[in-house]
């Protein structure tokens, strides 16, 4: 049994390209509801009509927020739209903006939010959101208590798999701005995006990640070389990001990115619970660590107890030799 109408908060990576998380939510929403629509705050909504439609959105409600930080204006406009159209549920990805807009919206409408969700089920009127607490080994299912409308939820990346539904382009409906007063006065003055070579972490078929076991920032190039040879992306544990060896955009884990590649190679990573949350869904895991008791070995399909400074250069050499 399905809900009647579900809205998905849509975000874009670049003009015309919805984020994977948006597409994952739309795919799941198609299972949950008869009608799926998207809400988008940002530039060039027309460019998104095609891909959002292909993944199930019949309509895109589009708000132009100019150079404003979208949180407050988006929540204000969305609150009015909800009053007008009465969706049964509105779902957000656990992105920076997703959490801001959902948080502000929940306060504005005095509604509970089920957050950090990894599973989503609908049975008649009952909506269940499952989450993993304390970093991932205890699963908790929760439902909304009492008459809650709409039901708000925030889902983690890679909870669902994105699959096109074959729909035509969504209808783009421009949304009127709602004055958010002082709350709406935050503005984006400048955008800094790191140069990106190779596949994105969240999309790569192979991810090679490094941790403190690498010994120093100068050794991260082993990770990068290996990733490049395997046409993959280079990731990192939080420890080495905090230590300043690599930028935060490389971080894999609870407070970094969630990845589900075909192969994940963890080099010099001990396997802190919060790191494993971000990669334990990988199809195949290879771990290299000096410590035989490292937690990472409990989830590795192939565990190598050894020195990364010895194993990785040899692995790189062997792969280069094969390539010609």
């Amino acid at each position: 049994m399905a809900l009647s109408k579900v809205w998905v908060f849509a975000e874009a990576d670049s003009p015309g390209k919805p984020t994977s998380l948006t597409l994952e939510l739309l795919t799941k929403a198609r299972e949950m509801a008869g009608t799926v629509e998207a809400f988008y705050a940002g530039a060039d909504p027309d460019g998104l009509a095609g891909p959002l439609g292909e993944f199930g959105a019949a309509t895109v409600y589009a708000l132009d927020t100019g150079d404003s930080l979208i949180g407050a204006p988006a929540a204000a406009a969305l609150a009015e739209l909800i009053g007008e159209h009465q969706p049964d549920a509105v779902v957000f990805g656990a992105s920076y903006d997703g959490r801001d807009v959902c948080g502000r919206l929940s306060a504005r409408l005095d509604l509970p939010v089920l957050s950090n969700g990894m599973t989503w089920e609908v049975d008649g009127d009952t909506v269940t959101v499952g989450t993993a607490i304390f970093g991932g080994n205890t699963l908790v299912d929760a439902v909304y208590a009492g008459a809650v409308a709409p039901k708000l939820a925030i889902f983690r990346p890679k909870s669902f798999t994105a699959e096109p539904g074959g729909g035509g382009p969504a209808q783009v409906v421009a949304v009127k701005s709602v004055d958010a007063g002082h709350a709406g006065e935050a503005r984006v003055l400048d955008v800094h995006e790191a140069e990106q070579e190779g596949p994105k972490l969240e999309e790569a078929a192979v991810v090679v990640s490094g941790g403190r076991g690498l010994g120093g920032a100068e050794n991260y190039q082993l990770v990068e070389s290996l990733a490049k040879l395997l046409k993959g992306a280079a990731g990192a544990s939080r420890a080495i990001v905090d230590a300043g060896w690599v930028p935060y955009s490389h971080q894999v884990g609870q407070t970094g990115k969630t990845v589900k590649p075909k192969v994940y190679i963890a080099a010099g990573i001990s396997g802190a619970t919060q790191h494993m949350v971000g990669m334990k869904g990988s199809d195949n895991i290879i771990a290299i660590n000096k410590d035989p008791e490292a937690a990472i070995f409990t989830i590795a399909d192939l565990g190598i107890v050894g020195d990364v400074h010895k194993v990785m250069p040899k692995l790189i050499e062997a792969l280069k030799a094969r390539q010609g």
Binding site: L69, Y96, V101, R108, V113, A194, L302, I304, V311, R322
Partner: protein
């Protein structure tokens, strides 16, 4: 109280502690309502600084909720913060790098780990902390109804708690100089190379 004394020892002038049994089971929005009421009670506040999320629930919505309840902008996920001229300017973490975001005060700012190196409380600071005022209040003192907080106010019910299926470990070998060959074979078998 320990955390409060540490904060006072590190330089805070005074503290407000909302301690009340009715708060057990409070969800994020309820927490935000309590915090917003306490902030209003503190009076004359220009800036509210928070972390981005807790390490048990990772809900990450409280800073935005507090800001909405106060009617203030929320500048979240800041990895650098600057104040001047009645405005706050931050470097806001994004998936691809960072944005520079600015807003006139008052505002709520949430910061990511590593935004600063915390200072160690000095002995003088620890001694001074003993005399700094700590205002202990209940939910009722804040003008809130017990029904807005706690398990009742949360409007969510837990229906199941279970242990996750553990992923099983596969082969584990010790490197004796040729472990890399095992990796190559494994990758070949997966048709990655």
């Amino acid at each position: 109280m320990q955390g409060i004394r540490s904060a006072l020892a590190m330089g805070a002038a005074k503290a407000i502690l909302v301690s009340d049994d009715v708060l057990a089971g409070t969800d994020a929005l309820g927490t935000a309502k309590v915090l917003a009421a306490a902030i209003r009670r503190a009076g004359e506040v220009d800036l509210v600084l928070t972390a981005t999320e807790s390490t048990d629930g990772y809900t990450g919505t409280v800073p935005a909720q507090v800001a909405e309840l106060l009617g203030w902008p929320s500048l979240t996920f800041a990895k650098a913060v600057d104040i001047g001229d009645g405005k706050v300017k931050i470097e806001r973490q994004t998936e691809k790098g960072y944005n520079v975001v600015e807003a006139p005060l008052p505002a709520v700012v949430s910061v990511t780990a590593g935004v600063v190196e915390p200072r160690y409380p000095s002995f003088k600071g620890i001694m001074a902390a003993k005399n700094k005022p700590v205002d202990e209040v209940s939910v009722a003192d804040l003008g809130l109804d017990a029904g807005q907080v706690g398990w009742a106010g949360a409007r969510q019910e837990i229906t199941d708690v279970r242990q996750a299926e553990e992923r099983e470990a596969g082969e584990k070998i010790e490197d004796e100089g040729d472990a890399h060959e095992k990796i190559v074979a494994f990758l070949e078998q997966l048709k990655v190379i």
